[in-house]
Structures are given as structure tokens and as C-alpha cells.
Symmetry: C2
Subunit: 205 residues, 2 copies
């Protein structure tokens, strides 16, 4: 039987970077997103900081030693890495390349600097920035968490202001309002649906 | 009372161009889209061809005389215009500029050449191309319409092949499968939701 001449080819996989200042809710958004969007696989970062209570190795992070981490840096095994408050954090290269190569979406929840690195390595990456509704709301959320002292909150807020200045390097911006997380997730899913229709992502043209 | 420092500014309006070869179902898709997406206003084209049975003036087209049409061309009142089989068709400038200026979305169901003109005038326009699942399916759909003679179908099919070669000039491509029109409409709505989050569309940065 003669096969029909299909016009629409399969689309390539891509990286979905989600960045947000502390307190904007990126952790719970990415959890909800992974639960509802089967085409996404989360990239698990590697870190030298010790696990916090409840964190699992391979789930939240790949926990490792500074020596091994530095060895992987030398071997070119990180797409991007950074030292934050004396601890090393990095995005392993091989799993991301596998996810994207399989035509799937690799979710990277990383900071603005990491997002810029990913955009350089994967120019077709999709960069989403989550925004708090207002600066006052962000401060309130940081205070409500109650896990940090006053001067740490001040520090986080200053970091957030610096991160917000980088928003124009991102493609999409979504306001993550408290109590409306599902709406944020739906908007990210709409972005994914749109990006999968992008003609430049066709395997062959 | 001190106002909160809102980070997310309003987004600018834009043009949504939908193009598709004859028989791909763009007319019914755009009707469904207008029924479900209140942020869209359809741009009504102007033509010198006589109304067909059931067509209303101002609804389907603005019907006019060749003399008046040519006067409007001279006055620069068309964003794009073309002569097709001896009849003139054009997209009036003023209504589109009003829709976009109001922060809304102007829907233009036009051909590939028209789409290219709109992209030149409005570089931030969103261009969507509707594709038939296969060339054989397209031919079948054209034959099933039963409104055209065999040689006209042949002609439409050749035109479709030429139009399909222009697909790479479009941003998004969606396969419009028969009986799954709602899915096509949902995908266009996802594209609209994504495009409204595009940071380059913020009124101020």
C-alpha cells in the first residue's frame, strides 16, 4: 500500500528553563508541571552541599563530594555550574542531551546565570521567568517562609532585584500569583504546546 | 495608600495571521476561534468580487467597486492587497491599527503573500500555518467539497503545493485533522496564551 505524503514531521526535543527569584514559588510550580505534563523530564542538578531534611539523592539533587564535582568540571560533564555560598551546583550534560535527543523536553529549574549558559549551548531552549506580582508581595512571601533571619531576607530581596533586571534576557514572563499556581502551570503548558508547533523545531524541512 | 510596585506591565496587541491552502479548513477554524477567544477581533477584508449566496457585507467581506478599491490603494488604506482571478482583495489598515492599539489581537485569515506583507509591517505579528495531514488528504477534501470542477481541483492542488513551500516563513505549523477541529483551535489558543507572555510584548521594560 502506498503511504500518504505526510507534511508534518516530528519535532525536536528542547530544554525548558524555568528561573525565578527566591520566594516566587518555582519549586512547587515545577512539581505541579511534572505531574501534569508527561512530555517533560526534570534535569536533576548535582551539588556538593549536604542534603536537607527530606531531600533524596537523585530526586532533589545528585549529592556528591567537592573532589568528584571538580573532576566532572574538568571532564566537561557540566552544561553549567556555579559556586553559591561556598557550595557547588551544576547541570550534568549527558542526561539533558539524552532527553533532548529523544525528542522530549528537559526541565531545568536554574538561576538566571545558568539560564544564559543553557541559551548559549542550546539556542532553541525555551526560557521562562516566573515573576512575583509585586516587590512587596515577594518580600512578604520571603518573611512568611520564616526559615531565614531578617538579614538573609534582605539579602534574598537584593538578589531578587538583580535577577529581575535580567528578565529581558528571557523569552516568556509569567506572574505567579499566590493561590493561582494552577494558572501558572497551565500557562507554562500553553507555552510548551506553542513551542512544539514551532516550524523551526521540525526534524526536517 | 502606597501602591505596590507591579513588575508585570500590560502587553501590546498584535496581529495573528492564519494561512492555509484551500481545503485545509481555515474558514471553520477561524469561526470557532472567534467564538471561544474573546481577546480576538477578526479583520474583515475588502473585495471587488460579488457576494456569494449567504455572504454579508461587513461580515464576510466589505464588498466594494473596483473604482473605490483603487482609490483606497492610492490613499495607502490597505496593509496588503492582491488581484486573484480578476478580483481585488485587500486588508484595510485603519481597523487593524485600532485593534492592535487597543492591546487586542487582530485575526487575519489571508494567503501566504499577504502574511509576508503583514510580517514586514508588523514584525511582532504571529504567523500560523494550518497544514493538511497529507497531500492525499488535501486532494480528497477538495474533491469532497464538490463545488469545483476537476481542472479547478488540479489548480487548487498546485496552488497548495506552492503555498506549502512557504511554510518555513511561518512561525507555527498546526496539522488540522478532520473531525479534530477543536484540537486545532485549542492549539491556536495555546499559541495566543504563550505569545501574550512574551516579554518583548511588554508595553514598557
Amino acid at each position: 500500500m502506498k503511504q500518504d505524503t505526510v507534511i508534518f514531521p516530528p519535532v525536536k526535543g528542547f530544554c525548558l528553563v524555568v528561573s525565578a527569584p527566591s520566594g516566587t514559588g518555582k519549586t512547587s510550580i515545577s512539581k505541579l508541571l511534572l505531574e501534569t505534563e508527561p512530555s517533560i523530564t526534570r534535569s536533576v542538578s548535582m551539588t556538593t552541599r549536604p542534603p536537607r531534611s527530606g531531600e533524596t539523592n537523585g530526586g532533589d539533587y545528585h549529592f556528591t563530594t567537592p573532589d568528584r564535582f571538580r573532576g566532572l568540571i574538568k571532564a566537561g560533564e557540566f552544561l553549567e555550574w556555579a559556586e553559591v555560598h561556598g557550595d557547588l551546583y551544576g547541570t550534568p550534560r549527558t542526561p539533558i542531551e539524552q532527553i533532548v535527543g529523544d525528542g522530549r523536553i528537559a526541565l531545568l529549574v536554574i538561576d538566571v546565570k545558568g539560564g544564559q549558559s543553557i541559551k548559549t549551548i542550546f539556542p532553541d531552549a525555551v526560557l521562562v521567568f516566573l515573576l512575583p506580582p509585586s516587590l512587596e508581595n515577594l518580600e512578604q512571601r520571603l518573611r512568611n517562609r520564616g526559615t531565614e533571619a531578617g538579614d538573609v531576607i534582605e539579602k534574598r530581596l537584593n538578589e531578587a532585584l538583580i535577577e529581575l533586571q535580567c528578565v529581558s534576557q528571557y523569552t516568556y514572563g509569567i506572574v505567579n500569583e499566590e493561590g493561582r499556581q494552577q494558572q501558572t502551570v497551565d500557562t507554562i503548558r500553553a507555552i510548551i504546546a506553542a513551542e512544539r508547533c514551532r516550524i523551526s523545531r521540525w526534524e526536517k524541512k
